[in-house]
């Protein structure tokens, strides 16, 4: 869980008064800004963004906090300072004209000084004092003090005077930023941090796999909690943007569910995904991740919401064409201005530029739903670890804006890659698409691996790309597990054949039974007739016997009469 440190911020233990820098994200990681009335050293190599940090600190103080400032630079001319600030969107000339800022350049003024005897920096003191009093400054920037140490002839004297200067500035209750060059084995080349012990901010401009990334770290903050991680930051046309690693909870977590455009999928997810949540669709090549993601954007536009489709893989035209072939027409949404399709090539772009570009697009288009396809592509331009962290940064950025995000991630068939592993803990819903190879064809299965905030079982569906768009079909669970595609169809046909056979058998058995019943009944009838015949025969014989007995008796009587009749006749 290294990506998501949780800061249990205790207000009571953090009573140190702070001066908000106004630098986006920085005041979050320092819980309020720089120590008020104290000095902060901002250190880093040349080009790390020290001066930019310092200038924005002053400009925001003037613009947003009604705190006039003094900028004393040993490195750049006033013209250069004004131009550089202009690139951040700050008009220093206007602030000076308003009497809220003094821009003083001492560039070159410590060059070629020959020393003869002891000296001090009383001139610097008086110079700063005059500027501070001129505008009633609350903030002071010294950029870059290294120059003093590097060019003045007596370093011991400079150290003594620098320490005295900082004590004096703190005594004036001024919030001070001192920029200094990064040292080899210490934070600054000349150990400036020994005098500026309140807060140390380290800026870094690193090259990872040939892609430059800016990072910021609060190395020290006396008396205050602070995030100790390295935070990537951007220098944009609207100032610095520090990307906090910790999750910025949107003001209200939405209970509203929104559909992803595939009814069966929404049903599978318990009615869709939560608004403002992040859904990851991962899978290997050709599994249909992009199609599902595009369908989600299409569904958003159908609801009348705004969507941003950010492709890191294919150019926009290619996506639109591919989607038409599966029945999703995105052109009309683009025409209506609801959909913006952008293609960024990660390989040619640093993480900073990537995030800055995303920032800018979110500001300009203000989408409700953002699709990024595919975050795994970030790997091509940058180191794997950096890619995973930029995915986390993307998610944090989208989440902080309450945007519903659908990200796709490419995984290889064999296993899961780093983006999947690390990002899976950051997303709310995770769908996994898997190719299933059997009987010489590939079919797709869709698993709902995770669905935060919803009752769900680890469900699986077969995913079909039809000309009417994507569809989900209940999978057939056969004796050998899940069966898909034509094998599923074969299975189903076999099932139907068996059913027909079973029914035929039933009918046959019924007929047989009927026949047996008829047969038995016929037999019964026959037996009954036989019995009746026998009964009749018996009766007939009894009659005959009776008749013959009568006849016998009559014969006997006749015979007797004949014997006696001889006498009587």
């Amino acid at each position: 869980m290294g990506l998501w440190p949780t800061y249990a911020h205790d207000e009571a233990s953090d009573a140190l008064p702070k001066a908000p820098t106004g630098i986006s994200g920085f005041d979050d990681i320092t819980f309020g800004g720089l120590p008020r009335g104290r000095a902060t050293v901002v250190t880093g190599a040349a080009g790390a963004g020290k001066s930019m940090f310092a200038v924005e600190f002053l400009a925001r103080g003037v613009l947003d906090h009604d705190e006039p400032g003094v900028l004393l630079s040993f490195e750049e001319s006033s013209e250069e300072l004004v131009a550089n600030a202009g690139s951040l969107g700050f008009d220093l000339d206007a602030m000076c004209a308003d009497g809220a800022l003094v821009v003083d350049s001492a560039v070159g003024q410590t060059d070629d000084l020959l020393q003869s005897g002891q000296f001090d920096l009383e001139g610097l003191f008086l110079r700063l004092k005059a500027s501070i009093e001129a505008v009633g400054a609350r903030r002071v920037v010294l950029d870059t003090v290294e120059t003093l140490f590097a060019t003045l002839p007596d370093e011991i004297a400079v150290r003594r005077e620098f320490g005295r200067l900082l004590r004096w500035l703190k005594g004036q209750d001024l919030t001070v930023v001192v920029t200094a060059e990064k040292g080899e084995r210490r934070l600054t080349r000349h150990g400036v941090e020994e005098y500026v012990s309140d807060c140390v901010v380290v800026l870094d401009h690193r090259i990872d796999d040939e892609v430059a990334t800016r990072r910021m770290r609060v190395a020290k903050y006396r008396g205050s909690q602070h995030g100790t991680n390295e935070f990537p930051f951007l220098i944009t046309g609207r100032g610095l943007v520090v990307m906090p690693l910790h999750q910025v909870d949107p003001e209200a977590v939405s209970d509203e569910r929104i559909g992803l455009g595939i009814p069966a999928l929404d049903e599978m997810l318990g009615g869709g995904v939560f608004r403002g949540s992040t859904t990851m669709i991962s899978g290997s090549a050709g599994t249909g991740k992009t199609t599902i993601a595009v369908t989600a954007a299409d569904a958003a536009c159908t609801r009348g919401e705004r969507a941003l489709f950010l492709s890191l893989e294919e150019p926009a035209g290619q996506i639109l064409r591919n989607m038409r072939s599966v029945g999703v027409d995105l052109d009309r949404w683009r025409t209506e201005g609801l959909l913006r399709v952008e293609h960024l090539r990660p390989a040619t772009m640093g993480l900073e530029e990537h995030l800055a570009a995303l920032h800018l697009m979110l500001d300009e288009h203000r989408p409700d739903v953002v699709v990024i396809d595919a975050v795994g592509s970030l790997n091509r331009g940058v180191a794997a670890g950096a890619s995973a962290s930029v995915v986390a940064r993307d998610i944090a950025l989208l989440r902080s804006r309450g945007v519903t995000a659908v990200l796709t991630a490419l995984t290889d068939e064999a296993g899961v890659e780093i983006t999947e592993v690390s990002a899976s803990s950051l997303v709310d819903a995770w769908l996994l698409l898997r190719n299933v190879e059997a009987d010489g064809e590939r079919n797709r299965l869709l698993y709902a691996i995770k669905n935060r905030g919803s009752a769900h079982s680890n469900q699986v569906r077969e995913f079909l790309l039809t000309e009417h768009g994507p569809e989900l079909v209940d999978v057939f669970v056969g004796p050998d597990g899940v069966v898909t595609g034509s094998r599923r169809e074969l299975q189903e046909e076999e099932e139907r054949r068996r059913e027909r056979a079973r029914r035929a058998e039933h009918a046959r058995l019924d007929a047989e039974l009927e026949r047996r019943r008829a047969e038995v009944e016929a037999q019964v009838a026959s037996l009954r007739r036989q019995l009746e015949a026998e009964v009749a025969a018996v009766a007939a014989r009894a009659d005959t016997e009776a008749a013959s007995a009568v006849a016998v008796a009559r014969d006997r009587a006749a015979a007797a009469r004949r014997r006696s009749g001889d006498g009587t006749s």
């Binding site: 003083d104 005897g117 000296f119 001139g123 610097l124 008086l126 005059a130």
Partner: protein, 113 residues
């Protein structure tokens, strides 16, 4: 500036003339020491061909910024050109002379002739 400029242009052909400006901040011991050291060196090495202006930044605080002064004391050789700067209480005479390029005066004179 017309006055000093006229004065300067009048003396410009004399390449050996030194116009010097010493920035101090109040009458501190270091400030006093620098002024004393400078006066002494000028008397010894640049007699009659130098001019010293002392600027006290306590009296004119804006000149620290306009004149680009950070280190106190700062001695500026305004003439002869190019401008040279020496910082410190000027107690190291050798380095002060090297800083003012006083040894190069003869060479400049040759160029002028």
């Amino acid at each position: 500036m017309s006055g000093p400029e006229t004065e300067g242009s009048a003396r410009a052909p004399d390449a050996g003339f030194f116009r010097l400006r010493l920035y101090v901040a109040g009458q501190t011991p270091r400030s006093a020491l620098a002024q004393a050291n400078l006066a002494q060196v000028c008397e010894s090495y640049l007699p009659g061909r130098h001019e010293i202006e002392v600027v006290d930044l306590l009296d004119q605080p804006d000149r620290a910024r306009t004149d680009g002064v950070l280190v106190i004391p700062t001695l500026v050789r305004c003439l002869p050109e190019p401008v040279r700067k020496v910082v410190g209480d000027l107690s190291d005479t050798t380095r002060l002379l090297a800083g003012l390029e006083v040894s190069g005066v003869g060479g400049l004179g040759d160029v002028a002739s």
